[in-house]
């Protein structure tokens, strides 16, 4: 990994007129450069994506046919827990922080992030957390087998692997909060003169709102897991009815974090897509102002809907009604965003390079996930579908198809800027089509399994679920192995290929395209002149 990071940045050394202290490994450990740190975030998240992906393939191998084949039920539970924790906290969140590090300073004409040293620390907190999570598999009792939701009292029963997961969550939370403070400060203070907030690229807007969501929600999660820790070891009874506590209290606290977390993942994805679709439609983004309001509205409402994850816990009827109506409200700003993207393409001049294909894939699949979300918002229907594979399908459509496809759209879009080379378009398109087809083979049948009543988080299932499970497993293998293609594409682009111009996409707008490709190690040491018409897509 280290060697490959070097290769990634060989180009940058040549452009760098300043030199920067240590070389070799120490360069990466001590770097304060937003581009270096962005790259490290992206490589880290890809490594975690492969680890979490391998776990999902282990899960799908067990589920290929009825009966227990390869895994014990306890190990199966550990796999599904770590798969989720690693994918959410290790893969998707760091990926978008990587994009933020690379792109926000370049989009707003800033020389670097506001707190460059803290930025380094934010990143280097991640590997210890990842090691804690993965190493917990090898301690006595194994990793936490509770699902990523860590519900007590089950999480009270777990071994030391649970404590390791709790500390990992603490560390990841610290990293996220520091990263968020950095992003907010950078965006609010370091824009080039003339770039008012309402002329700022939309990716920066999505991250501004996301960073506030992180600062508001991560301490809540840290509090929840700390209470778990003291219940486990220090005799408190926050979640123990025998001591005057309530297990359901944990769920309220967890989901008060957990629901904003969904938008922490989704909003930056919306931001990326809001750059890619205008670029390949050769048009300005439709409804910029309403996009900003929609992002802010989604961010705000996300704090008021948490108990829609808890319809079956016995919350009162009035509570169920309130959370149902509040959840339905989210459909309105989300709909506005989808309609804006669609109208951006309308009467454009469309081309279909890989970033655009992934953005379109995002649009289709995220809309499906959003619409099944509307079905799940209805309490009475949700009670039929809660804890079934319908929910598994729903959140993979919004998380994998929503966040991952959007991250790929961003990766292919900005790769020429990062490496200075055009990527292999043929391989990129192959990667897209394989991902799109296999993703749907893997996850669409899970809607049917859920409707028919197959619970999630079970290592073995009744025979009427066998056929769709086999299809789903085959799709997941295809999807998993297709993702290795992106590694080939990125290595090729790092090594060579057609030279990328400063603005390789003729429809792309924004300050990042005014600097050469690859972007020099230091950019915008002087604030660049600002042209509102070219400010963003």
């Amino acid at each position: 990994m280290q060697a490959s990071q070097h290769a990634a940045h060989a180009g940058h050394h040549e452009d760098d007129s300043h030199g920067h202290g240590p070389t070799g490994l120490m360069r990466w450990i001590t770097t304060t450069n937003h581009k270096d740190i962005g790259s490290m975030y992206l490589w880290f998240s890809f490594a975690m994506f492969l680890v979490g992906g391998a776990m999902s393939l282990i899960i799908r191998t067990e589920l290929l046919s009825p009966g227990l084949q390869y895994l014990s039920p306890e190990f199966y539970n550990q796999m599904l827990t770590l798969h989720a924790l690693i994918m959410v906290f290790g893969a998707i969140m760091p990926a978008f922080v990587g994009f933020a590090n690379w792109m926000i300073p370049m989009m707003i004409g800033a020389p670097d992030m506001a707190f460059a040293r803290m930025n380094n620390w934010s990143f280097w907190l991640l590997p210890p957390a990842a090691i804690l999570l993965t190493a917990s598999l090898f301690v006595p009792g194994g990793a936490a087998g509770t699902g990523w939701t860590l519900y007590p009292p089950l999480s009270i029963q777990m071994g030391i692997g649970m404590d390791m997961a709790i500390f990992a969550v603490h560390i990841l939370g610290m990293s996220s909060i520091m990263g968020s403070i950095n992003i907010i400060t950078t965006i609010l203070n370091m824009r080039t003169p003339g770039m008012t907030l309402m002329k700022m690229p939309l990716f920066c807007w999505t991250w501004l709102v996301t960073a506030f969501l992180l600062i508001a929600s991560m301490p809540i999660l840290a509090g929840a897991v700390t209470m778990l820790l003291t219940d486990r070891h220090f005799g408190t009874s926050f979640f123990n009815a025998a001591g005057g506590g309530d297990p359901v209290l944990f769920q309220h606290i967890f989901w008060f974090f957990g629901h904003p977390e969904v938008y922490i993942i989704a909003l930056p994805a919306f931001g990326v897509v809001s750059h890619v679709i205008p670029a390949f439609s050769r048009k300005h983004l439709f409804g910029y102002t309403s996009m900003v309001y929609a992002i802010a509205a989604i961010g705000l409402i996300s704090f008021f809907v948490w108990a829609h994850h808890m319809y079956v816990t016995g919350i009162p009827l009035t509570g169920q009604l309130y959370f149902m109506y509040a959840t339905m409200l989210i459909a309105i700003p989300t709909g506005v965003k989808v309609f804006n993207w669609v109208t951006t393409m309308w009467r454009g001049s469309l081309t279909f390079e890989t970033p655009m294909l992934f953005a379109l894939g995002f649009l289709v699949l995220f809309t499906i996930g959003g619409l099944t979300g509307l079905v799940l918002a209805m309490t009475a229907v949700d009670i039929q579908l809660q804890d079934t594979y319908y929910v598994v399908a729903h959140f993979h459509y919004v998380m994998v198809a929503g966040a991952l496809f959007s991250a790929y759209a961003g990766l292919y879009y900005w790769l020429p800027k990062w490496t200075g080379h055009m990527y292999n378009e043929g391989l990129g398109k192959l990667h897209f089509w394989l991902s799109m087809i296999f993703f749907n083979i893997a996850f669409f049948p899970q809607h049917f399994l859920g409707l028919a009543g197959m619970p999630r988080r079970i290592p073995d299932y009744a025979q009427q679920f066998a056929d769709f499970n086999m299809i789903s497993s085959i799709g997941s293998f295809g999807f998993g192995f297709s993702q290795l293609l992106v590694l080939v594409v990125v290595f090729q682009a790092m090594k060579g290929g057609a030279k990328a111009e400063a603005r390789p996409w003729d429809g792309a707008r924004g300050l990042e395209w005014t600097v050469p490709s690859p972007a020099p190690h230091h950019t915008f040491e002087e604030p660049p002149p600002f042209d509102p018409a070219e400010a963003h897509g």
């Binding site: 009966g67 227990l68 039920p73 306890e74 006595p140 194994g142 509770t146 519900y151 089950l154 029963q157 071994g159 486990r232 123990n240 009815a241 297990p247 359901v248 050769r282 048009k283 983004l285 409804g287 079956v312 816990t313 016995g314 009827l317 169920q320 149902m324 339905m328 459909a331 309105i332 709909g335 506005v336 669609v342 393409m345 309308w346 009467r347 454009g348 001049s349 469309l350 809309t367 619409l371 099944t372 079905v375 309490t379 009475a380 229907v381 009670i383 039929q384 809660q386 079934t388 049917f448 409707l451 028919a452 009543g453 619970p455 988080r457 073995d460 009744a462 025979q463 009427q464 056929d467």
Partner: protein, 367 residues
């Protein structure tokens, strides 16, 4: 897709089932219809939005020489696509609300049954009605060999239990749910019932089955190792059959009630204890007593199983807080506890030759 179930309706266990299970209560039918309505709404929205996208993709492409227009705001359409979805949502909210209100109305039940979740089985106790006082455990009956693929799987693989919940047809059955260890969830899709069983709290839910038959569901909240192996089976029977079943249960309960004063011999105690062990202990501590360390310790040669009798009994009665070791004091009778502890102290290599009488358990419980 709402039209499809007609095509695919076959047995309830059709392998290619595409929709919710066939409803067996009035409430479940309303939920089914609400879902069908929503499905149509989202299909129409999806088709509408992506028809526009498809038109753009085909006609507004650069390769056909289409030049990009220059517009990026239109207040009228932006207001329209905010207001129209709002109206659709308000329209949906009406049936969604009334269905939910019906779902939560547990008043005026014909009978009440208490359901207790255990790792990993269900306990049923009839609280009111003719069967008041009847109580028993309901455990997965699928043989281990089927799960391990050593023999072919049966028709109701993983969805069968030794003793189902038996209820009369057409009666409003109220369930009180709780748990003795972690959160479980009692769910029967055909009744549109799914409610958490939370330790230390009571939740309630209800159903009124319209047709006799067997209805199956599963635990729907991750509850540890054997979460996938604690199904729910409900037998809905006619009033006559229910009366007969009730009478049988009461007779059987009277017959098996142990004489508390009986003095047990070692071999009968161990024989009884082995049955209790298989039903309650073997899932974790394994039939060979080796356990699955470190989460589930071995009993063969363990300090507790070979140590003082009182500490061993205490562990079984009170459990070990913070671990999966449940307190069996409330689940098992004095005789069963005496038997299972005697079995554990005499099985495998723990040949202590000790006899434990139910009276000793009774004495310890008092402390």
């Amino acid at each position: 897709m709402a039209g499809l179930p007609g095509l695919f309706a076959g047995t309830a266990n059709a392998a290619w089932e595409l929709n919710l299970q066939a409803p067996a209560t009035d409430l479940a039918r309303r939920v089914y219809d609400l879902h069908s309505l929503l499905l149509w709404v989202i299909v129409v929205i999806f088709v509408g939005v992506f028809a526009v996208v498809a038109y753009s993709l085909v006609f507004h492409r650069k390769s056909k020489g289409h030049k990009a227009a220059d517009f990026h705001d239109n207040t009228t359409v932006e207001i329209a696509w905010t207001v129209i979805p709002t109206l659709i949502l308000i329209a949906i909210a009406f049936p969604a609300t009334s269905t939910l209100v019906q779902m939560r109305d547990t008043s005026q039940p014909d009978m009440t049954i208490k359901v207790t979740g255990y790792q990993w089985k269900w306990g049923y106790e009839y609280v009111t009605g003719d069967a008041a006082g009847v109580k028993y455990m309901s455990v997965l009956s699928t043989p281990r060999d089927q799960i391990e693929n050593k023999v072919p799987k049966g028709e109701h693989y993983l969805l069968e239990v030794d003793r189902p919940l038996v209820v009369p047809v057409g009666k409003k059955v109220r369930l009180l749910l709780t748990s003795s260890d972690v959160i479980h969830n009692w769910s029967v899709p055909a009744f549109a019932v799914k409610t958490d069983a939370v330790p230390g709290f009571l939740r309630d839910t209800w159903f009124r089955a319209e047709k006799e038959g067997t209805y199956r569901g599963q635990c729907s909240e991750l509850c540890g190792k054997d979460h996938g192996f604690m199904p729910v089976v409900v037998e809905v029977v006619s009033a006559e059959k229910y009366a007969a079943w009730t009478a049988d249960q009461k007779k059987a309960m009277a017959a098996v009630a142990d004489d508390p004063a009986k003095v047990w011999k070692l071999d009968e105690l161990v024989a009884r204890g082995e049955k209790v062990y298989t039903a309650n202990c073997a899932a974790c501590h394994q039939p060979n007593g080796q356990g699955l360390p470190p989460a589930f310790p071995a009993l063969d040669g363990s300090k507790i199983a070979k140590g003082p009798k009182a500490a061993h009994l205490d562990m079984v009665i009170k459990g070990k807080p913070g671990t999966a070791m449940a307190a069996f004091g409330a689940q098992l009778s004095d005789t069963d506890i005496a038997a299972v502890v005697a079995y554990e102290r005499n099985a495998w290599n723990n040949k202590l030759g000790e006899v434990i009488q139910p009276a000793e358990v009774k004495a310890l419980r008092g402390k």
